[in-house]
Symmetry: C2
Subunit: 463 residues, 2 copies
Amino acid sequence: MVELSTQYAEGFLPGAEEEAELLSAVKAAAQTLTDGSGKGADFLGWQTLGGDINHAYNAGRHGEYQRMKAAALRIQEQSDVLLVIGIGGSYLGARAVIEGLQGRYRNELTNGLRVYFTGNSLSAADLADITALTEGKRFSINVISKSGTTLECAAAFRYFRDLLSRRYPDNPEEVKARIYATTDAARGALKAQADAQGWETFVVPDDVGGRYSVLTAVGLLPILAACGAEASDSLLAGAAAAEAAYAEDAQSLSANACWHYAALRAYFYLKAGYKAEILSSYEPSFVMFTEWWKQLFGESEGKDGKGLFPAGVNFTTDLHSMGQYIQEGERLFFETVLQFEAADNPLAIPSADSDGDKLNYIAGKAFHEINRTAFTATAIAHQGGKVPNLVLTVPKRDAESLGWLIAFFEKACALSGYLIGVNPFDQPGVESYKRYMFTLLGNKDPKYDPVREELITRYGIVL
Amino acid sequence: MVELSTQYAEGFLPGAEEEAELLSAVKAAAQTLTDGSGKGADFLGWQTLGGDINHAYNAGRHGEYQRMKAAALRIQEQSDVLLVIGIGGSYLGARAVIEGLQGRYRNELTNGLRVYFTGNSLSAADLADITALTEGKRFSINVISKSGTTLECAAAFRYFRDLLSRRYPDNPEEVKARIYATTDAARGALKAQADAQGWETFVVPDDVGGRYSVLTAVGLLPILAACGAEASDSLLAGAAAAEAAYAEDAQSLSANACWHYAALRAYFYLKAGYKAEILSSYEPSFVMFTEWWKQLFGESEGKDGKGLFPAGVNFTTDLHSMGQYIQEGERLFFETVLQFEAADNPLAIPSADSDGDKLNYIAGKAFHEINRTAFTATAIAHQGGKVPNLVLTVPKRDAESLGWLIAFFEKACALSGYLIGVNPFDQPGVESYKRYMFTLLGNKDPKYDPVREELITRYGIVL
């Protein structure tokens, strides 16, 4: 389903010998994933999320999928607005899929449920805006946090739970029925709260890290609520097909697009000296998908002083902002382009009596076709500017393609991480600022004693 | 008004001798700007846009400011929706200011005019969404293009003009009264169309490039329509004050924050080997301001194989996605942080009877204060991770501060460009993909003959 073309990377690609080396390296990495013998092997549950849910709807750990569907219908019935409270991996995947399928104006265009993502910053202004968006509206909450103690999420949840309680001051049952918690199956602060309060819960599996979690309840419940069961089923079907396709052994890189992409990334990084990868697409609705991709790769590879810096652009918009730099600035990066084959709709350039804008030569042409021409022209121009372009083509901007792309990138990311020698499943650096933050906020846990010392010594901050 | 703190860059800063060299280099660059003796000197009109408009409201080239105010009121009266059609510099500045001041949900929260930006991609899906947003609504158009032949903009304008004409099939006067063209004062396709059709026009000055044009009619008309005259006046007043402040000679870098920022950027790039700069802020409403900043610096510096790659993050959101890479990935970048002193509002963490989320130790604390603590913690953590942090503090997220910031960054960008030896006012690389695109679209202009040849030879594309 995903085709990888290297046509616009000619002149920058590995030779036959290097390609053979890459093939055996990626084959070994793939085997490591299958065996569970590599770094971070406790976090390999993402590999079968599409297939598991499809093949065992009502059994095993994903038996809850049917329960998610029922909950999504209930959310739609009981609410005008769903607040999804989560950050990082508990936020980006669902938003990427919902906007990818329904566009960035879906909340303004829908007659149904509006879905807003919050608990993903500490901005008071943003919180006030979201509050205003719930005014006069029936709202429900899906709080997503494995531990329940991630600050942004916990703070926003406390705030909106308070708001909900004030909406229904004499009706704790109504409040309870409007809160859905996606969290650890057994442990943690949120699970304990949910059990005590009687909120319906869904599971963040132990063996799936946040950035790989979009096809668990983390992503699926908001997706079901916003896009419906058919879209969610197709998303999973696409992922399942990709999981099966990329599990097959291949005799050449070009026979397995996922291996191929991972191998070329590693080659560009390790051998060709590129420091960054730019993901581009030609659909504004894919801006959030790019953000999801940035977390996936940045957090998986950016450690031990290593990793390709992940950047995103949306074309043709950003050809008029970042285009100059990409064409002629420092040569730091290669580009990966997401392309959709089928047109979304037949909108075309209208003809005009007068040709004041000099567009009559393309009157009648579909925007989709012109957009595709812009892609071809850009790939040629950037290749000429020494930016190799890897082109990933999917049939259509639909749920199945999106599911396939998600599984494609997740596996490619895990392979890439192994190829450059890091653990693609941990994120030790994320803790760094948190230690300072909790200490500065006055958390008296003795584990922060050394941090308090450092703050005094280095910055004269006495707490 | 903008304070630059280097506290969280200690350990990475130039020594006294280097600082003296930087001071004399930036002084010379500033003199070049004043003299108009440097590269791109035909494009220095942005230097006085704040002051000019304020001091000569009704005279000279900005006499049109009062006319803009009248047009904005008329747009508000005659429309539910304003479509702003423009791309690159004809798009980013206005959106940055409007969202920076009113937040990213302003269209959903307003009872007044909704403002949508279009003509900035070739996506049929996006165009269809914008079309749907005008359904049942009275809409007007502000088309912004110096030449009138930029493809995205011209195509969308043709499309929405057609839609407008079909809305008022027997009333060409009504159509005419709903179109506002911001374009060249005398030349070009759009100016000719506007004159022929009788649309009201506003001027894109000859001596102000697109990415420096937010304080001309390019940015001001949409800003006036969305935010009103008081905000626009304050924006210009802030810019005027910054223009005056940074025109003053300084005896040390720390005495002129604009010089200081430009000099440190150049030092990090030329001497310390950094390849990228990450602009971060802690307000989601500033995502588009960051996009504006990326164009300003990327397009100004990214040429001749040079320039800092401009990247943006929004914290704390992206601490949970790009945070890992910034903390521990390849050491490629320094960070510039935008900070607002005053709180937007007093929203605070509510207290709770049960402390299931373990947040009672910060109950009653304002979100603004917690957000600021997250900033301090992050700056300390990133500095520890060998990412120097330059911190730019402004008093408040208001129009005056925003105007000041715009003038600050524009001047710093021009100085930075001169310091690294490029022309900060041209964008030759943007033409590259356009040549291929127009040729591929079938434009038969003989100037594209060599491009046709190249397409056959390199790609076998016969047109």
